[in-house]
Amino acid sequence: MNEKKEIQTANPETGNVTQEARADIRAVKAQQARERAEMLEEAGKPKEPRTVSKTYYNSVQRFKQRVYLTFVFVFLVLVCLLVMYPLIYAISAAFSPGKSISNINIIPFKNGFTTEHFVRLIKETNYIRWFRNTLIIATGTSVSTVFVCSLAAYVFSRFRFILKKSLMLMLLVLQIFPSFIGMIAIFVILHRISGLDTLWGMVLIYLAGNIPYNTWLVKSYMDTIPRALDEAARIDGANSATIFLKVILPQAKPIITFLSVASFTGPWMEFIFAKLILRSNENQTLALGLFSFVTDKKNEFTMFCAGALIVAIPFVIFFVITQKMLVTSLAGAGVKE
C-alpha cells in the first residue's frame, strides 16, 4: 500500500499509475514476499537446543508479560492523573465560592458548589458581548482563510508561472515569524484604512497571519490529488474556476475541514493583537475579558476559570471526537516528505 502510494505520487506529471509504476509495484511486492519467506525460513530453524521444558518457559514469559503490563498500566494512570491535575482544579475553581486561588481547598470540590460565577459572568460582565465578538472574528477568519488559502494552493499546485518558486519560498520563510513582530506597522496600516477598533480589522490581521503556513499545507495536500481528474474535467470543457470548485475542493475536503477548524479555533484565545487593536468596551474579545480577571492588580481566579470553562468545553468535545482525523491530518499534512 505504502509503496504504491509513493510511486503514484512520484509521478505528478501523469497523475495516475502508469504502466511503469505498476511494474514497479509488482517488483517491490515480489521482493517483499521473497524477503518474508526467507525470514520465516530462518525463524523456523531452531536456533539453540531448548533445555527447559516448553510449559515452564511459557509461564515465565507470561509472568514477565503480566508484570510489564501492570507496570505500564500504573504508569499510564499516573500520567493521566498528572494531565488531569490542573484541569480538575480549574473545573473545581469555576464552581467554588470565593475569588482567588488562595481560598481554594487543596482537595478539589471541597469548598462547596456554586454557580454564582457563571451568573455573575452573564449578568455583571460583558461576557455575552465578548463571546459574540469573538464568534464573529473567528467565523470571519475561518471563512476567509479557507477561501484565500485553498484558491492560492490550487494555483500553486496546478499552474506553472513566473516567480512561482520565489513566491513559495517567500511564504515558507514568512511563516516562521509571529505576526506581532510587525505590530507597530500593522497598527498604523489599520489606522490608515480606519480598521482600528473594528472586528473586520482583526479578521484581516488573523487572515494575513494564517496565509503563509496554511497555503503550503493545502498545497501539499492538493499535490496528492491525481491530475487525471482535472484533465478529464478540462476535456469536458470545464474552466479553471469550475475545476477548482467542482473537482478539487470536494477531493480536498479533509484538509479544508482541518483548515477551517484550525483557523476558527485560533482567534478565541489570541491576546496580543486584540489588546493592541480593540480599544473600546463593546469590541472586547473573550481573551481580553478573561485575562482582565487575573491581572497583577486583581485575582479573580474563580471567575476566570468559569469563563474559560465555557469556551474550553466545546473545544475539548470537538478534539476528542475528531482525534482520529487529527492524527491523519497532522501526520499527512505536516510530513511533506
Binding site: 517483499q32 492560492a152 513566491l167 513559495m168 507597530i184 474552466n239 484565545m269 487529527l326 516528505e337
Partner: protein, 441 residues
C-alpha cells in the same frame, strides 16, 4: 509600419514598443484592445501618481524635520512617513511585476501569431485572457494581503532597527526619528554593557529553551505513543482522549491555571506539599520565583502542554511502518528496546524530521508558554533598565520593549536577529519538501 512579419523578425519591434509604454504593442500591433487599454491605464495611473510617489520616498529618506513650535498634530510624523514609504515601495514593486507581465504577454502573443498566422479575435482573446488570468486572480488576494499585512510590517520592523525610534527622545508625533546606521546593533552586541549583557542572557536562554522544549516534548510524545501502541491496553482509547486534553484546551487558559497553581505562597501545589508534610511554610518551593528553578518549571509545564501533539503525530507515523517488520524482529528474538531502537525510532525520526525543525522554530517564538506562565519573571539584575527578566525569551522581550519601554529600535534589532537565525531552518525544510525534490520549480 503597422504590419507584423510572421517569420519572427518583428520580435524587436514588439519588445521595444511594449517597453516604451505598457500595453502599446497590444494596442498597435496585436489588436488586443481590452488588454492594451488595461495595461495603458495602469501606466497612466502610475505616471499621474509619480510626483506623490517621489515625495513619499524622499520623506522616507529624510524622515521629516523637527519643527519646533508647530502643534504636534501638524508636525512631520516620522513613523507615518516610513510606513508610507514602504507601502509605496510595495506599490512600485507591483507595478514593476505588472510591467514585466505585460512585456511577456506581448511576446507570447506575437509568438502565437507567428505559429498560427492570425491574431485572435477580440472575444477569443478575451476567453483566453480569462484562462490565463486565473492564476493571477487566484493569487491576487494572497499576494496583496501578504504584501501589506506581513511583508510591509516586517520590512518596517527591520528598517526601525536602523533608526533611533525609542522613548523618551525620539517618539513621534512630538519628535522626529532619524536614521542612525548600525548603532543599535553595536550597542546590543557589546557597545553598551547593560544591554549587551541582557541580550546575551536572553539569546542564550532562548536557544536552551527551544532545544529543551522541543526535545522533551518530542521524547515525551514518542515514549507515550510507543507505550500506548505496545501495551495494547483495553482502555487505551479512553486514555488517549485524556492525553490530548492539554492540546485541546487553549494554551492561554492552561498556562494561566498553572501559574496560579504554582504560586509560591498561596498556590495549590505548595499548599498540598505542606499538608503532606513534605515541606514547611518556611521552605516553600519557589517554582516560578527562583531564577534556575523557574527555567526548569517552564520547560516541565511546556512538556505537559506539548507532548500530546507529538504523541498524536508519532502515532500517525507509526501506523505507516509495515507490520511485517515488527513481526520479523519479534521472530528474530529482538527485545522491546532493540525493536524500538532499530525500527521504530529511525523510521519515525526520519518521517517527522521537518516537524521537529518546525517545532524548534515554533518554540523560539513560543510567546504564550512564557508570557502566560511566568510572565518572564523572576526579575534579573538589569531588569529595571532592560525589562529583560530571567525567563524572558527573545519574543517576550520584544513585546516588553515595544509595549512597556517603547524601545522600538532595540525590539527591531531582536526581530532581525530572529530572522537571521531562523531563515536557514525554513530553507532547509523547503529543500526537503517533495515538490522541491521532484524538480517542480
Amino acid at each position: 509600419m503597422f504590419k507584423l512579419n510572421r517569420d519572427g523578425s518583428s520580435k524587436k519591434k514588439i519588445l521595444i514598443l511594449s517597453l516604451i509604454f505598457m500595453g502599446l504593442s497590444h494596442l498597435i500591433f496585436l489588436k488586443q484592445y481590452v488588454k492594451g487599454v488595461f495595461f495603458a491605464l495602469i501606466e497612466l495611473l502610475f505616471i499621474l501618481g509619480s510626483p506623490q510617489i517621489v515625495r513619499t520616498i524622499i520623506n522616507m529618506v529624510t524622515l521629516g524635520d523637527p519643527q519646533p513650535g508647530v502643534p504636534s498634530k501638524l508636525k512631520d510624523n516620522s513613523m507615518f512617513m516610513l510606513i508610507d514609504g514602504i507601502i509605496i515601495l510595495a506599490v512600485v514593486l507591483i507595478f514593476v511585476v505588472l510591467y514585466f507581465i505585460s512585456v511577456k504577454s506581448a511576446q507570447s502573443t506575437y509568438k502565437d501569431y507567428c505559429n498560427f498566422g492570425s491574431l485572435l479575435k477580440n472575444d477569443q482573446a478575451l476567453s483566453s485572457l480569462g484562462a490565463k488570468a486565473f492564476p493571477i486572480l487566484g493569487l491576487a488576494p494572497l499576494v496583496l494581503l501578504v504584501l501589506f499585512f506581513v511583508i510591509v510590517p516586517l520590512v518596517f520592523s527591520a528598517s526601525v532597527a536602523f533608526t533611533n525610534y525609542s522613548s523618551p527622545d525620539h517618539v513621534p508625533p512630538n519628535n522626529t526619528v532619524d536614521w542612525i546606521g548600525i548603532d543599535n546593533f553595536r550597542s546590543l552586541f557589546g557597545g553598551d554593557a547593560t544591554w549587551s549583557g541582557a541580550f546575551g542572557r536572553v539569546a542564550a536562554w532562548t536557544l536552551i529553551w527551544a532545544a529543551a522544549a522541543t526535545t522533551t516534548c518530542y521524547a515525551g510524545g514518542l515514549f507515550m505513543a510507543v507505550i500506548m501502541q505496545e501495551s495494547k491496553i483495553k482502555i487505551a482509547p479512553v486514555m488517549r482522549a485524556v492525553f490530548i486534553l492539554p492540546y485541546a484546551v487553549p494554551a492561554v487558559v492552561t498556562m494561566l491555571v498553572w501559574q496560579n497553581l504554582l504560586n509560591g505562597s498561596f498556590g495549590v501545589v505548595n499548599r498540598t506539599l505542606i499538608e503532606l508534610g513534605l515541606i514547611t511554610k518556611e521552605t516553600i518551593i519557589p517554582w516560578l520565583s527562583d531564577a534556575t528553578l523557574a527555567k526548569f518549571t517552564v520547560v516541565l509545564i511546556n512538556l505537559w502542554a506539548g507532548f500530546p501533539y507529538f504523541m498524536l503525530l508519532t502515532m500517525g507515523t507509526m501506523t505507516s511502518i509495515p507490520k511485517e517488520t515488527f513481526e520479523a524482529s519479534k521472530i528474530d528474538g529482538a527485545t522491546r528496546l532493540q525493536t524500538f531502537k532499530s525500527i521504530t525510532l529511525p523510521s519515525v525520526l526520519y518521517q517527522t524530521m521537518p516537524l521537529i525543525i518546525m517545532s524548534f522554530t515554533f518554540n523560539i517564538n513560543n510567546f504564550g508558554a512564557i508570557f502566560f506562565l511566568s510572565r518572564g519573571l523572576p526579575e534579573a539584575v538589569d531588569s529595571t533598565i532592560t525589562r529583560a527578566k530571567e525567563t524572558d525569551i527573545l519574543v517576550t522581550w520584544i513585546y516588553n520593549l515595544t509595549i512597556n519601554l517603547n524601545k522600538y529600535n532595540y525590539a527591531a534589532v531582536l526581530a532581525v536577529c530572529i530572522f537571521v537565525a531562523l531563515a536557514p531552518f525554513a530553507i532547509f525544510n523547503f529543500r526537503r519538501t517533495k515538490s522541491f525534490k521532484d524538480g517542480e520549480f
